[in-house]
């Protein structure tokens, strides 16, 4: 039996009929067609599927699509605005916070939730805040730096009323 589900994904409304057992991550990838949210495990350990559900970080493999009825979802595809990378995306680029990039969307979404709760996290708070995400490539060193640098940029840009300073591409 199919169930109606209506969601807002990255600001756009979607209505579909889905199986009750369809996982939210598969709904996003296979039904809505946004493949930036990844699947890295089957036991909710890796965090590659992390998205925001009404502003809260959620591993989208732990929810059914029908449970997202009426909710506002943000995926990695919704982070850049007007062709400009989100400061977290920019920071991961600047600080070499990714290698294969498979874990990256999940990290960026989890980090965006962390910074929304705690705009100035210490190194330790970053570690605690992102311990639900696994990366096999980076040893996490540059991911920590990326989040620190994004926090700085976001606080700075708030202070400067949204003025955006693009980091130099070469140094």
């Amino acid at each position: 039996m199919k169930h109606k589900v209506a969601t807002t994904v990255n600001g756009r409304r979607h209505e579909h009929e889905v199986e009750a057992r369809l996982l939210l991550v598969h709904y996003l990838r296979d039904v809505v067609g946004l493949t930036g949210t990844h699947v890295g495990c089957d036991t909710s350990q890796c965090g590659a599927c992390t998205i925001l559900v009404d502003g809260n970080a959620v591993k989208s493999c732990t929810m059914f699509a029908v449970q997202a009825e009426g909710k506002s979802l943000t995926t990695i595809e919704g982070m850049a605005k007007d062709g400009e990378l989100h400061p977290l995306q920019q920071a991961f680029w600047d600080e070499h916070g990714l290698q294969c990039g498979y874990c990256t969307p999940g990290f960026i979404m989890a980090a965006s939730y962390l910074l929304s709760q705690n705009p100035n996290p210490t190194e330790d708070e970053i570690r605690k805040g992102l311990e639900g995400n696994l990366c096999r490539c980076t040893g996490y060193v540059n991911i920590i730096k990326s989040v620190q640098s994004a926090a700085k940029a976001m606080n700075g840009s708030k202070a400067k009323a949204g003025e955006h300073s693009a980091a130099a591409r070469r140094s």
Binding site: D30, Y102, G139, I143
Partner: protein, 790 residues
Amino acid sequence: MAITTMIGAKIHRREDPRLVSGEGRYIDDFTRPGTLFLSVVRSPHAHARIKSIDITAATKAPGVVAIYTHKDFAKVIAGTMPAAPAFVAEKKQIPPRFPIADKEVAYQGEPVAVVLTETKYQSTDAANLIEVDYEPLPAVMDLEHALDANAPKAHSNAPDNVGWDLTYIPEDANVMKEADVVVKQRILQQRLAPTPMEPRGVLAEYSRPDASMTIWMSSQNPHFIRLFLAGALGIPETRIRVISPDVGGGFGSKISPYSEDYLVPAAAKLSGRPVKWIETRTESIQTTTHGRGQYFDVEAGAKKDGTLVALKVTQYLDIGAYVGTFGAFQACACLLSTGAYNWKHVSARTVGILTNRVPTDPYRGAGRPEATHLCERMIDLLAEAIQMDPAAIRRKNFITEFPHTSHFGLVYDSGEYEKAMDKAMEIAGYEKLRREQEEARKKGRYLGIGISSWIEICGFGPSAGTAPATGGIALVESAQVRVFPTGSVTVYVGTHSHGQGHDTTFPQIVADTLGVPYDMIELRHGDTAEGPAFGYGTYGSRSLAVGGMAVHKASKKIVDKARKLAAHIFEAAEEDVEFDQGHFYVKGSPDKRKALGEIAFASFGAGLPEGMEHGLEAVAYYDPSNFVWPFGTHIAVVEVDAETGAVDLQRYIAVDDCGNVINPMIVDGQIHGGIAQGIAQALFEEVVYDDDTGQMKTGTLTDYMIPTMNEFPLFELDRTVTPSPTNELGVKGIGEAGTIASSAAVINAICDALSPFGIKHVDMPASPDRLWNQIKASRGASHNGKEARK
């Protein structure tokens, strides 16, 4: 050659904007119209006879289009899966391996049947309805006793469990007598699951009218896969196209062909529909090849003054149920076991043992982490035995003359081992750490400092050395450089980037060689329909030292042709034409110059010199003259809680030397990731099977302990630069270095911390449980000792 500007620069990766935006395209992001989903029914037993397979119920399940078993695949797949000689030319036995089991299964997870359905979820539902009747057989799970006469056999029709038994250098019983002290140690290398964050996956589409096959898969070397599939499927290479798009990590586990790489295309051919299979994480841990899985019996002797005398190594390697395609590669642990040191005598033997576990194959470092680990452990054990500082014994025995020919005939190209160690000790503040350690011990706190001076053979490799190892295909590398009429450049390479940043670093090389702006150069890889006829892939830290050189060589061919054309345009002799930073001019008149782009445009026009072909493009195959030999020293600082056995890794210092550096940011990133994987082996990860049933007990990420962000300090990195004399760029590899060095540094630090307890050796993973038991046992022992003296 143009003046270096881009080589050595910290250029941010051009692939990143796409990847941070969710626009990477990994295997599961591809689909074709009418795609069927494939699920694999796998053996739940480590070893069993298949009595019957009943598909009646599954056939009626919703969405089922086809169910195939061995008899169906036998019609479209020929031969058996390959097992390369690697470092063991002669094997005692190679159990024939077909991609799907027929009458007998030999490891948990071996494919038995596949089901094809209209939707993803239906395929799992239907797979659960297939009834396989098994007769369980005794399984070989105990490596130590697998060669006993009464041991069960991994394959019921096999004579025994010996895959190979090869002595590289025989033992001379007399040589140990030259030593003042001899230490003996058994060293375990637990099985590891490579666990790239993206599991494997295959999508295949067969065109009946064209008799052609297109395959998308997550692979480190699509050309080799095409070669293997051409043979197995009976389709010429011209009609097989393998595309390996963005790949979410490989670490060696996406080199060899897997069962599904054959079954999915074959199912597409049988069903006439595109077929897709995506590995679950549980399947990945269970059936993707494992790394390590060995133990070593090692004996080492030294003089009282620290001079190394003799090393004797025997490797026992758990092959698994079948010989992995490059499974025997890990025997190179024997060949590298002497490490960075001069040893007077060496002997080495490798024994490969068949068991009922998933096959082992290369995993980041592959044989070289094992070599470093055993060598660096033995050096510390010797230092302890003669009461010498671990740094001092290393310093005394480092190889200092290069090129250096090892006991095994390998030629180390260059190195300055002491310099790297000194730098690491300086950053660590070694002397101060030793003082802190002493103070801490007085207060009952156990600090430990561990040194690991590593070397590595990489950059596979010269044709003479590698063609015999693969069974014929030399691991050279290819590149094609095409210059378009307006001077923009596309470069096609046979390597495959899956995190290593080639899209950025290879154009850096081309920019310097051609003097063309970096932004005008594109790199393409991962599609066998493009570029040279064959590419060799990315593994063994070879991409830069071999692939980067192929790119460089092809670029130089471009310059050579362009120079001829420029001379013609200038009406000058070729030898009078200079090339500097992308411009040609006649000696003495640098103001009348022409950019390479202008020459490119001219190469498509009229009035070329007599006999010159149009266009400006070149293909190059680069065959290195030797392997390359990076090195370095890592230092770990730990504190062990003697009450709980918990290890606090406080600092980690790495000074590495990979010759000239193309992009320091990317090199550091590779080292970070490598260190993390070696620490993960030292402290956390282990694939555990139940010894009786052969069932895997660590089949999910809940039980298989991939470290999180909480487990590592921020690594402190520095480097020395000793250019490689092997290639013109002076480069060596760095992809595996961190992993090769780090397990030994951490374990040496733990052993150092626990030396007050008389603990000399700790096996991996050094879990709190393992350490607590060792500490407890040693406390018990010393307590009993006191009792005895009373």
